[in-house]
Symmetry: C2
């Protein structure tokens, strides 16, 4: 197989040697000088917060700082008390007016901005908000019609709480395979929601075990034996007044988890549960009283796709949880590293950990990437607010959810280790973020599955690789060649082109079925996904830089670009995009950039403006011990 | 800086092109054929267990299978109950006769083998055993003399439990900087153990908050104002009969942690605690009744080094915890992947996850590395049993502790994600292993610090790189070039040589102080450490293979070698050790090997012979839900 591969590559080897752009006069100029340590932190804060969300974020910061429910301890709480605290925090938020159930459709910047701030504090709150506002609320707003508006008012103030019953024990990623049925009974004009097998029980349903009044249920709509595919229904779980569980509904606790133990995930079995016909969320398809099915789509698969489409907003929102957790954890680790001393030139002259080159390398690279991911999500949020969504939106929401969550898990691990044993102590917060965020890699679409969706989108574009973009970076002055945003862009563009060609070739060379051919290529599809996301995140950063050259953004962009190249350096060199001698310079340039960024690391974390009660009691992580 | 670097590399470019070894007749032969699926699982089990430890491991397996304390639930237990259960498990072990307190000195294979088996079950037990047997027991056995033998009998049956008070709030990795004092009082012939500052309080002392009777304390031995450096003392924490805390001792709970919440870590403050003179562990240095200090060493630093030396055994023992956790978690993830179906060629023909190429790539590579690390630790354990330890032993125990724990954290993350949401459910065990093992990266020596120790050892060897080992792998038949153990060995050898030369050059080129020069080079020191450990682990695997060609070891060795190369592929290609076209073949060869190893993955995990009660209740991770 690899021999074919080499042939493909050889065909791509007609390259353009980059003309020697005089980047020292461009926006790259400042990269050649010592970093400016005297910049406007407020400007950086506004850039990271975004003009659109800034005021909502500040309002949320004030709320977190001042509300008594956000001053309570959650460290080491037992599940029961933790779930109660998180519920009370959500009720407090709902009653604060900071967000509204309709935000998911009408004011996404407000909702997403608030969630990002709450994720500074704790991802349990964000997850419980997400279930109610984006999943339950999103189903009502995007799949319902005027007849479902009645759910909004009480849900908005959390008089009633909603949850979202899609995943089943037997089917997670493959939602189309779910087994729950919704038979239509013409006589009574009702749907009968039923779990026909043990594996069809709904699982992981956040909010369902203790608190939810309603759930939206995804089930196969069946009329007179004909299955019209997966549709969404509103089903009451509990009596809104008494809180008692409705007939035919059985809910079990999903039990203790790696993290998010403040969330009451439940397992739901439906036994012939009757709901009115009107509880079908009928934006795209409906059933008439006498049992006639009508749909805007001519096939179940198209209806299914339309039913699933709104949840891309949820994927974007999830990245906000990663963003807040990463920023708080990095702030904790960086503040600690500035204060904590260990070793030094002499026993009596111990130096702060931040002076260690390894500590700079470990912490500055994720700090840069977090900010650039955030800038990219601002763009995506703006796209999601447009009346007509771009065709790329689904693929890009999936892609950023996957790459941000994988990155976040790695970054939090680094933060934990960078604080030594103190990072292991729950009181110092990183541990909680780490365990809570871990689930993001596999929920709302397993990351590997999402990366395949992205790759399939790219395959489907039928984009022709343009030889104009080919590049080969070679020369004595590696620094000038690399500190050049146009060159980096061409590198990333070329990589994506070759990765795409390669994936196509692997699939088309296969003698197996289409399913097996793609299956054998999944690791290459994932690589293509990374190549694409790296390119567009980088390009968005450079676009931002061109319009707002906020310090020290240029350094962050260049640091992250070189780290991205280093992560795939073997590929760049063996595919003749970067010469060996330029490649050899990269680790040294990264280390130098990390050292420069370290000089402004305190200002950067100050720009996050994280409320003090989101962080450990003491900045040195130990003062609370005395 | 990078330009000098390139010059160094160019000097190394006189290479030997490998002669075309006819590896198809060597031990590599089988790599060119489909994997043998019909091998002797018992033979593989004996290889992984080791001849020396096999019978002890089997006895421990039986004990775990049958003892009621190992059938109790620990999932989601509160800290108090968890700590009590772990104590009771340790008492059961101590009374079983499976291990003895003196094993750490006299029968290391027995102790290490048992710990590895207990780590199949849960790392809390192993950690509590480790504190008592290797740290407390080790201090008594290696630093004490006949006058301390009196502690052994009761400690062996856990009538008394010991702990180990080295780390302080202000000093973890830099043990030489600890502040606790042990003033000698000539009048009463006592030492006075004292915590002079808040930062001098002992911290993380496992076993101290609830259960330990004694602790060994590391403190500065001071006579008449002269500080003779860090020495170890036995200090009673509690009355052996009543259990009440001794005068002058104050112990606080370290609180909730990311993991290991079954361990009662404590924070200890000593206020003028008087102990008899004989409680100084006096193997190397002693104080006479009238206060004369005598040492086998002429400087405090040499005495310090000798005092620390025994704890290298602890570093080896820690890797056993990683080994068990990795093997159980991989077994869980692999069994699940064979059973769990999701997606397939048609909606009604879903296939097991293990058929996904991505799942094979994710799980087979860590499976191979775990086994090869285990084989290397067998070698290290044998070295540790020799009367005269090799000069390399400290560096290699530090190195394997660092690389195994970093690897383990990554592997457990992979296992968690490979099981999707089910990996997040505590009942399925991986979550607990993941959180418990996380601390290994930073305790018993922070990994980054240990890698520096290894690099300093290698720098100190003053080894001359031999041009005879230089290699450049180039040619059309990448498979034959790579499926050749001699070539791989030369690649790893050459990398270490160049990495070593590079580190020397970076340090010697620096115009800064010796401290800063090394500090700026830490990331390169870590890289050198990885290069060295990869080489010796590989070489040990090939040595094993030459004497015992147990199936499917050859495949595992080759898979892991290619994965190691891929992890540093940019370096290999840009340093002209591997040609671009050979490099391009590597991901394809890895995928093919993963696919081959997958065919025997069930047999491999069967060879671990993991007691059923170490694993989730149901192999498909979901059957317990119905």
């Amino acid at each position: 197989m690899y021999k074919n591969r080499i042939e493909i590559i050889k065909k791509h080897l007609e390259v353009n040697i980059p003309t020697n752009v005089n980047n020292k006069n461009g926006i790259e100029n400042e990269l050649f000088n010592p970093i400016d340590t005297n910049f406007n932190v407020g400007e950086l804060k506004l850039l990271i917060d975004s003009v659109e969300a800034s005021k909502y974020k500040d309002a949320t910061r004030e709320f977190i700082k001042n509300h008594p429910k956000f001053k309570e301890n959650f460290i080491g709480l037992n599940m029961e008390s933790y779930r109660q605290l998180v519920l009370e925090q959500c009720v407090a938020i709902a009653n604060s007016g900071l967000i509204h159930l309709t935000d998911i459709k009408n004011n996404l910047h407000r909702y997403a901005g608030a969630v990002e701030m709450f994720s500074y504090y704790n991802n349990n709150v964000c997850t419980k908000l997400g279930v109610h506002y984006t999943l339950f609320g999103g189903t009502i707003m995007f799949l319902g019609t005027s007849r479902h508006e009645k759910y909004i008012e009480d849900a908005n103030t959390l008089k009633t709480m909603g949850c979202f019953a899609m995943t089943e024990i037997g089917h997670g990623s493959n939602v189309r395979g779910i087994e729950t049925t919704a038979h239509y009974d013409k006589q009574t004009k009702e749907f009968i929601i039923h779990s026909p097998t043990p594996t069809s029980e709904k699982f992981w349903i956040g909010g369902s075990y203790l608190h939810a009044t309603y759930t939206t249920v995804f089930a196969n709509l069946i009329i007179d034996g004909t299955n019209h595919g997966v549709h969404a229904f509103v089903v009451p779980l509990r009596c809104a007044k008494s809180g008692s569980i409705m007939n035919g509904i059985h809910i079990k606790d999903c039990g203790h988890k790696l993290g998010l133990n403040g969330i009451d995930n439940g397992q739901i079995r439906f036994t012939q549960v009757r709901i009115p016909r009107e509880n079908l969320l009928n934006k795209y398809s409906d059933v008439s009283e006498d049992g006639i099915y009508k749909s805007q789509f001519n096939t179940p698969i198209k209806n299914f796709a339309a039913t699933m489409a709104p949840f891309i907003v949820g994927r974007m929102a999830i990245t906000k949880g990663c963003s807040g957790a990463a920023k708080t954890s990095l702030s904790i680790a960086i503040e600690f590293s500035h204060l904590r001393k260990q070793f030094g030139p002499t026993p009596n002259n111990e130096l702060p950990l931040i002076t260690l080159s390894s500590q700079q390398r470990r912490l500055m690279a994720p700090l840069a990437r977090t900010i650039l991911f955030d800038l990219y999500i601002q763009r995506l949020t703006n796209e999601l607010c447009q009346p007509k969504l771009p065709a790329s939106i689904h693929a890009h929401c999936s892609g950023i959810k996957a790459v941000y969550s994988w990155f976040c898990v790695g970054a939090l691990q680094t933060c934990r280790e960078a604080c030594g044993g103190q990072g292991y102590r729950s009181a110092n917060r990183i541990a909680e973020f780490k365990n809570d965020c871990d689930i993001v890699c596999t929920y709302e679409g397993d990351n590997t599955v999402l990366m395949q969706q992205l790759a399939k989108y790219l395959l489907g574009l039928k984009k022709k690789p343009t030889t104009a973009n080919r590049i080969y970076l070679d020369g004595d002055d590696a620094k000038s060649l690399l500190f050049n945003f146009a060159n980096i862009h061409q590198l990333f563009e070329t990589r994506e082109d070759i990765r795409l060609a390669e994936l196509k070739q692997i699939i088309s060379n296969s003698k197996e079925s289409a399913y097996s051919a793609f299956n054998n290529a999944i690791p290459w599809a994932v690589k293509l996904g990374f190549a694409h996301m790296t390119k567009i995140v980088f390009q968005n950063s450079v676009d931002t830089l061109k319009t707002k050259n906020v310090k020290p953004l240029a350094h962050l962009v260049m640091l992250d670009a070189l780290v991205s190249i280093e992560e795939d350096l073997g590929w760049f060199v063996s595919n003749h995009l970067i010469s060996p001698n330029v490649a050899q310079a990269i680790p040294f340039l990264i280390q130098d950039l990390c050292s420069e960024v370290t000089k402004v690391s305190k200002q950067i974390i100050a720009s996050f403006d994280i409320p003090e009660n989101c962080k450990p009691e003491s900045k040195d992580l130990i003062s609370d011990l005395f």
